[in-house]
Amino acid sequence: MKNKVITGLLGFLVVLGMATPALADDKVNTTTINEDNAKGSVNSTLVTSNINSSFTMSIPATAAIVYGIEDSNIGNFSVYGNLTPQQSVNVTVSHEAFVNKNDKDATLPYTVTDGSGNELSNLTYDAQSIKDHLATPVHVRISKADWQVAHAGQYTGSITFTATLSNKN
């Protein structure tokens, strides 16, 4: 009986570990990083906090672009967390070209924009923008000419959001 209980508990742990990724919203992918301020106190007059800064990066989920559409909104990018006023989350946005599944040499060029014609490359979120629930729209822009000359087939690409929690200088 004891063994069954232990096995059951461990099984539950396995299931818990596997189920955690599904807790995210279906429409977004999230990544959370935490800061552990494990710095030693300088002297006894300083008041230190045990609450660590952390943030959650929310990016659009997998998106299917409809043929012929020049500007497609695939969702929003946002950051949540408990940053201090001296901290910021710096995000770089990069993308890999659309590649034809059956012909690796056939590509479909596109740009990632904020929907207002500005290309998304670097974003900065600080405590205030997080408090203001700042959301940046993410658009995929493919010109009509590029659609027309593209080889037929299925294309896959990716947009990568790279975030770093840092202290402002």
Binding site: N3, I6, T7, L10, G11, L13, V14, L16, G17, M18, T20, P21, N29, T30, T31, T32, I33, N34, E35, D36, N37, S53, M57, I59, P60, A61, T62, A63, A64, I65, V66, Y67, G68, I74, G75, F98, L108, V138, V140, I142, K144, W147, Q148, A150, H151, A152, G153, Q154, Y155, T156, G157, S158, I159, T160, F161, T162, A163, T164, L165, S166
Partner: protein, 162 residues
Amino acid sequence: MTLKRFLKILTIACFAVLLYMPMHKAWAGETVSSSVTITAVVPEKYTVALDIEGQGAVEVNGVTYDKSTKIQGRGAEDYKITAAKGYKIASVMYGKGNNYRPVALNEKQEYKAPTVSEDGNKLKVVFEKPKMIEAVKAEVVKPHYLVMSVVFAALVGLIVLL
């Protein structure tokens, strides 16, 4: 508990911990990346017939046609229709077989065709001279007849008086 059973449980526990660990923790200053996969399907090209009646032109993918012809399209093309001077667009039809039917243009006089998956679709555009021009002509002519009638009546009246 035998050693074998203990190792078995330990393996399961390690597996569970390894599964859970990568989900959350990272140190400040560490770079974290997350990607979104995007997909798109570009359809094959198919033959679409352009049937143009009357005076006017159809622009497709930057090329203007003023005579009936066949083009290579993927559907989802924008057909911009322009009537020649003195003509108007009488009708626009698009489709194939039972789906060949009148279609509406947008405010830019364009028709956005749906995605097709076979040859044989046809876009037929009929341009014609507007009947309003005839009506306007008739209205313009009417006063002329009126003046002539008055002059004629005056002449008859003058002859009678004489």
